[in-house]
């Protein structure tokens, strides 16, 4: 087994902010799907943390500007930095916009030592950032050198100073104090923390057999990273010769929207080709050729194997960087060919799609249509039911927006929110089955009158003042009561003054053939639901 390669990682901190043109001194934060992904130094000193919800972050630092994440802008802005680093080594690998890495072994001989290599890298990146963004408009870069990209990435993250060089062989010791959350596997980390394994050192100290027995291949990968080894051993022998995919584009394309769809399906077919051999890749080479014969090559890497969605994202970011980048980077003519070459093949892991259940073609088709309709009508317009529990028919089920659509060729994130099977503990005082077929989103205020045209009320003991005879709405003659049942008093959340609800429900059948669920709350009658 090979030792992990000595790697240098360049990281531009808070790149989502920097790319959007926010100087470090301005209070600002960037959000993606309601959570903070980056905050400027000024916002962070106000108490904003990564991963916070929007509302909390805004209450911590009300003066901070709130920006939405734009990955296209991030990719576009980082391309000049990568282009400048190509002067040091052609083997630069991007991890995500704002972070890239390269193996130290080659260039270190050219520069005569790791320190001078780090210095030259820092100067190169600094100049590239100054050129594109302006002096002082960015927080500079952080550099880390260690054995393996995972440890080097942590070294580039954990510092306020410029660079951290972990000496060769000292990487396992360097990793010991880091919390397990740096593994970026939320489900696994959650279990590890509850088991009391809070640091990488604690995880690394466990016997390998126990980790595999309890956590399977994912746990083994995580432990290998924690021990300073490469995540998953490379699959070097016997892989088929040609897994690369490519397309030719005629006429040459110059705009991202012309090629985006093709790139997505290309990424899907590369992933499918790998998946049907049980493989995944840790690094993918995106190659493009222009009409003038220029050859553009970039490598993207991900420590976990790259999934179909992640692959499609990376190809799109790279095309964004090339086609919409600043003039020095942009190719002189349109792209005529695009190739994706998988490298560093690894076993795809033990995931096996279900034989029964899982996503069928009909499910995928339906979700695509629902997403298309959601795009037509705006977010939140297409919703699926989810069980919440409660006493009111309106409370028991709620509607949540349909999940974001599947990317072509992938089945990740396709299964919608499944309603909770109602085997939860009972709710005393729930309106019994059969439930009303129509639950009014906006209940109508009505008058419930007795034989003497007085409003029927329910006293504190849950007894009606008189038999209900008529239901009037808006001054009309109304409908007559045939029969009625109830009232059932409901006193909810009496311990919480702001959410306390006290009401009485009645099932009433009227002479128009319909039965209604009437609710008396704070002296007013409402039609909460209709047994349509």
């Amino acid at each position: 087994m090979t030792e992990p390669a000595r790697t240098l990682v360049v990281r531009c901190p808070d790149w989502p902010l920097t790319a959007l043109g926010v100087a470090p001194s301005d209070p600002a934060m960037v959000l993606a799907s309601g959570r903070v992904v980056a905050a400027s130094t000024a916002a962070r000193s106000g108490g904003v943390l990564e991963g916070q919800r929007r509302r909390l972050a805004q209450s911590m630092c009300p003066e901070a500007a709130v920006l939405e994440r734009d990955e296209a802008v991030e990719a576009r802005g980082f391309e000049p930095v990568v282009a400048a680093l190509s002067d040091i080594t052609p083997w630069v690998e991007l991890q995500r916009p704002g972070t890239c890495a390269f193996a130290v072994r080659g260039p270190v001989r050219l520069f005569g030592g790791e320190e001078s290599l780090v210095d030259s890298t820092a100067v190169t990146v600094q100049e590239a950032l100054d050129d594109t963004l302006g002096v002082g408009a960015h927080p500079g870069c952080r550099i880390g050198v260690a054995d393996g990209p995972f440890a080097a990435g942590l070294a580039a993250r954990s510092v306020d100073g410029r660079a951290v060089l972990v000496p060769a062989g000292a990487t396992p010791g360097f990793l010991i104090p880091f919390p397990v959350s740096v593994l970026e596997r939320p489900d696994l980390v959650d279990v590890l923390v509850r088991l009391g394994l809070t640091t990488l050192g604690a995880l690394a100290a466990l016997p390998v057999a126990d980790v595999v027995g309890r956590f399977g291949s994912e746990g083994l990968d995580a432990q290998r990273l924690a021990r300073g080894l490469d995540g998953r051993p490379l699959q070097l022998a016997g892989h088929p010769p040609d897994l690369a995919v490519g397309i030719e584009m005629d006429p040459p394309v110059e705009r991202i929207d012309q090629v985006a769809f093709a790139a997505r399906s290309l990424a899907g077919s590369l992933h499918d080709g790998l998946a049907c051999r049980g493989l995944a890749c840790r690094r993918v080479v995106v190659e493009a050729e222009t009409g003038h014969g220029e050859r553009l090559v970039r490598r993207w890497r991900d420590e976990g194997a790259i999934g179909a969605t992640a692959l499609a994202d990376r190809v799109r970011w790279q095309l964004e960087g090339w086609l919409n980048g600043p003039p020095g980077v942009r190719p002189t003519s349109g792209l005529v060919r695009l190739d994706l070459v998988p490298e560093e093949l690894v076993h795809a892991g033990s995931h096996q799609p279900g034989f029964w259940g899982g996503a069928t073609a009909a499910d995928e088709r339906a979700l695509r249509a629902l997403n298309r309709v959601a795009a037509m009508l705006g977010p939140g317009s297409v919703r699926v039911p989810e069980w919440r529990g409660g006493r009111d028919p309106a409370e028991q089920m709620t509607l949540v927006p349909v999940p974001e659509g599947p990317v072509a060729g992938s089945v990740d994130g396709l299964i919608p929110v499944v309603p909770h099977p109602p085997d939860s503990p009972p709710w005393p005082g729930v309106v019994p089955a059969p439930s009303p077929a129509a639950v009014h989103a906006a209940p109508a205020a009505v008058e419930v009158l007795d034989a003497a045209d007085r409003t029927v009320i329910v006293d504190g003991r849950g007894v009606v003042s008189a038999e209900p005879v008529r239901l009037c709405q808006g001054g009309g003659a109304g409908v007559g009561v045939v029969s009625w049942a109830g009232p059932w008093p409901v006193d909810e959340r009496w311990w919480d003054p702001s959410r306390h609800r006290r009401r009485a429900c009645m099932q009433v059948v009227f002479d128009d053939g319909l039965a209604r669920l009437l609710v008396l709350e704070e002296g007013r009658w409402w039609v909460a639901a209709t047994y349509d």
């Binding site: 490519g246 499910d363 088709r365 019994p432 059969p434 349509d532």
Partner: protein
Amino acid sequence: MTLPSSLLAEPEPFDDLPPKEHPVPLATTLSPVRTVPTLAEAALRVRPTTLAVERILPVLPALVGLVPDGLRRGSSLGVSGPGARSLAMALMAGTTSAGSWAAVVGDPDLGLVAAGEAGVALERLAIVTTPEPSAWGDVVGALVGSLDLVVVAPQHRVGAATVRRLMARVRERGSVLIRVGDGPWPDRFDLTLTVVDGSWEGHGSGHGRLLLRRAEVLASGRRAASRERRVAMMLPSPDGSPASSEQTGDG
């Protein structure tokens, strides 16, 4: 791999759907001596063949008296009368529990708990907010193209041209359109179900609770369904699901 230029643009809304069956190869049905057929003729010949049983969406056993052969794909249904929502849920129950998807457009009041009790597979049910009248046709058109069952309750008057376009789509894709409510509809339904004579049982003046509703449903329609049928059923029965009256008996 060479990419045709048509792929470089965004796809047409519905061209990503696989055909149901493999087309009959053209060569076996065309003799060489004949002249080149027109495009329409050729399309007719290579049309996929579908078995009759695949042209049917299943219904609950309680509804077999009402729709004996199940819901025919490519047809339209009108459901009206007091209890129309319950009946629509009963129709959705059989179809969604067999793996089809259903969408409800323009009925924000639909009781989801009642739908679950009726037997609707809620994980395959989507609720779409009421679209603007101008967008209504496009939205429903997109849904009938990909979902097996689309239930609509339009609050506005739907134009005849819109319905014609929709029904062409429904027939082409083999879905079923159900319209709930009593308002005017510019087209004849293939099957009309009307709830008549509903009466609730289980309550009195101040005691008991609603247990079940005995209802009679009138089915009339075109072609095979032209003979009128009257079916008595419990809509819903005490556990919330629809049941035929004979099934449980009166005891």
